[in-house]
């Protein structure tokens, strides 16, 4: 018995050693990166280390709010974080980010002009876009017919086939857009109407989901639901029946951007990392891996996109102009969101 335990322990430790062979400590210091899970081509990290000699300590988070709470809780030291637009404006408001030195990020000039001077960072001081995408409807036309409006999500003829976002901001955003209001409204009566709409929808809904939507739409268990454009492409690979549209009422366009934290200890390395990720070749590889759209204007020509991928990744300008990005809402409105969401889900 004793010996067998020793065998187990040494086997486990060996496995641990074996799995650790990827880590290397380079001499030119480190950069601590905090990004969304499954949101990078990890080969790029190794390439960055080989090119610069800076080793990357790469960690992942699940949502903007989770990332925010980890940073606020303290005791951690990240250099580069990659949150979404509205979270960036909140972090700027709370003085959590530091201005970037663009002399160290020459590739910034390759960023599409349309993504500069965005509402979350109006003077282009704190952030460099990483990837962007839109929210749209993913649907199976053989079941729900052709769709070009959010109305399909609230139509009782699709009862039982509808999926909805399981987070308050995205779900309320869709209801607000369908009603013709802004995603960023702080008007309580508009929010109240959106809530009423979602409450009615609950009766015909199959469920509130996040990543379960992949399996449900691919297998045909559900036939329509809103999700991120980039993720539609992987669903389409498994179920070629599926189609994507940005509804005519407009939608949410979101940008995840790279920022440097106020208390970063490796600012220059962080800027080198941001510059590396923005370079055309690297951003193209990353965009191909993730399926989201690169902010680098040269990438589109470099990637050999088929028609479908191109229409999803680079939507029509007219539609895009109807889309809004989230901005940070005042605390009072956020509390009201929470209140309505809890009421809806309970």
């Amino acid at each position: 018995m004793k010996k067998s335990i020793i065998v187990i322990i040494s086997a486990v430790l060996l496995l641990g050693l074996f799995s650790g062979c990827g880590g290397s400590t380079a001499s030119k210091g480190v950069v601590n990166v905090y990004n969304w899970g499954e949101y990078i081509d990890t080969d790029l990290l190794t390439q960055f280390e080989d090119e610069t000699g800076i080793s990357v300590n790469y960690k992942t988070f699940e949502s903007n709010e989770q990332m925010y709470s980890v940073l606020k809780q303290g005791g951690v030291s990240y250099d580069v974080v990659i949150p979404s637009d509205y979270m960036i404006s909140r972090m700027i408001d709370e003085d959590m980010l530091q201005p970037l030195d663009f002399a160290n990020i020459p590739n910034y000039s390759l960023i599409d002009g349309g993504l500069k001077n965005a509402a979350y960072d109006p003077d282009n001081v704190y952030s460099v876009p990483y990837m962007w995408s839109t929210v749209g409807l993913i649907y199976d036309p053989t079941v729900v017919g052709e769709v070009d409006s959010w109305g399909a999500l609230f139509d009782s003829k699709n009862s039982g086939n509808i999926l909805m976002f399981d987070n308050s901001r995205d779900a309320m955003g869709i209801a607000l857009k369908y009603l013709g209001y802004s995603l960023n409204t702080t008007d309580k009566s508009e929010l109240e109407k959106a809530y009423e709409l979602l409450k009615q929808q609950k009766g015909i809904l199959q469920g509130y989901v996040m990543d379960q939507i992949f399996d449900k739409l691919e297998s045909g268990e559900a036939a329509i639901g809103p999700y991120y454009a980039g993720d539609f492409l992987t669903m389409h690979e498994n179920n070629p029946n599926l189609k994507f549209c940005i509804p005519t009422e407009g939608s949410n366009v979101f940008v995840d951007a790279m920022c440097i934290l106020k208390n970063a200890q490796n600012k220059e390395n962080a800027e080198a990392f941001i510059n590396f990720m923005t370079a055309t070749k690297n951003s193209a590889a990353n965009s191909e891996f993730i399926g989201y759209t690169s902010p680098n204007k040269e990438v589109k020509d470099l990637l050999d996109l088929d028609e479908l991928t191109e229409s999803v990744m680079y939507p029509d300008q007219a539609l895009l102009s109807k889309c809004e990005s989230f901005i940070n809402l005042p605390q009072e409105t956020l509390d009201y969101y929470d209140e309505l969401w809890i009421k809806l889900k309970s």
């Binding site: 067998s4 899970g37 303290g74």
Partner: protein, 275 residues
């Protein structure tokens, strides 16, 4: 009678199906050629190949295994001595202290996690350290210890009190008594505790999440972070590998045990024959 027997068989079969069906599905889909978790589209070993080149998953696996092994070993040592201490305490002390020991087991993980994190962050601010592997390890040790104590205590109660006295009569020092008499007697309890502690550590998400900081990330944290994009089939692959390793180890342990058992039986027989 026979009817009852088949009923029991069906029940057993169902139990095994419910226990192992998810694992079988997971193993099957680790060989699926697309990312789908519902549609089978062909056999591939790609996920295994990608798994070993995914540095994030590999380094989180390493962290998980390292922290679990070290924490369960340390907890086994501390827990065993704590249990021996409890055992030798007066009864009116032992009761309340054992209850206190049980609190972390019953307590919600999230409370343990948040309180440890508060402690580490404030102590870190005072003494100049950050959350990291050290704090993760301390947190794991602290929630592992009660499990070791809980599985060692019953073994101590089964112990014959006369054994100590006999060993001391025969000239053992106090330490020798512990080392040569008590520990071997309670070994099965220690090993059980060690294994439970190890499993708890590998399993843990909530407490690790609050105490790991920015330099390390456990496997469960990495998996959780994938949920916006969809959990990668690489996770199926690594789970399959872990399951296979555990299965192989269990088989080895069982084979060894049954061999040892047979050897002992043989010895007993020979002794009886000699008498």
């Amino acid at each position: 009678m026979t009817k009852k027997y088949t009923g029991g068989k069906i029940f057993t079969a169902l139990t095994y199906v419910f226990l192992y069906a998810p694992i079988i599905v997971l193993i099957v889909f680790s060989f699926n050629s697309t990312k789908s978790r519902t549609i089978w589209s062909g056999f591939t070993l790609n996920w295994y190949k990608e798994l070993f080149s995914d540095r994030l998953i590999m380094s989180s696996l390493q962290t998980t295994l390292l922290v679990s092994v070290v924490a369960s070993l340390v907890a086994a040592v501390i827990g065993t001595f704590a249990a021996i201490g409890f055992y030798n305490m007066k009864k009116n002390w032992r009761g309340p202290l054992l209850t206190v020991n049980n609190i972390p087991v019953i307590n919600a993980d999230i409370i343990t996690g948040v309180s440890l994190s508060l402690l580490f962050v404030s102590a870190g601010a005072l003494m100049g350290f950050e959350l990291g592997f050290g704090t993760l390890l301390i947190a794991h040790i602290s929630f592992d210890i009660p499990y070791v104590i809980l599985s060692v205590m019953p073994k101590l109660y089964q112990l014959d009190r006369n054994l100590f006295e006999a060993s001391q009569d025969l000239g053992c020092t106090w330490f020798q008594t512990v080392y040569k008499v008590i520990i071997p007697e309670i070994m099965p309890g220690i090993i059980n505790g060690l294994l439970i502690a190890f499993t708890m550590s590998v399993d843990d998400f909530v407490i690790s999440y609050f105490t790991a900081g920015s330099s390390v990330q456990t496997l469960s944290m990495t998996i959780y972070a994938m949920t916006r994009r969809r959990i990668s089939p690489k996770i199926n692959a690594i789970s399959t590998l872990l399951f296979a390793v555990v299965l192989i180890l269990l088989v080895i342990v069982n084979v060894r045990e049954s061999r040892q058992h047979k050897a002992e039986l043989k010895k007993e027989k020979m002794l009886k024959g000699a008498n």
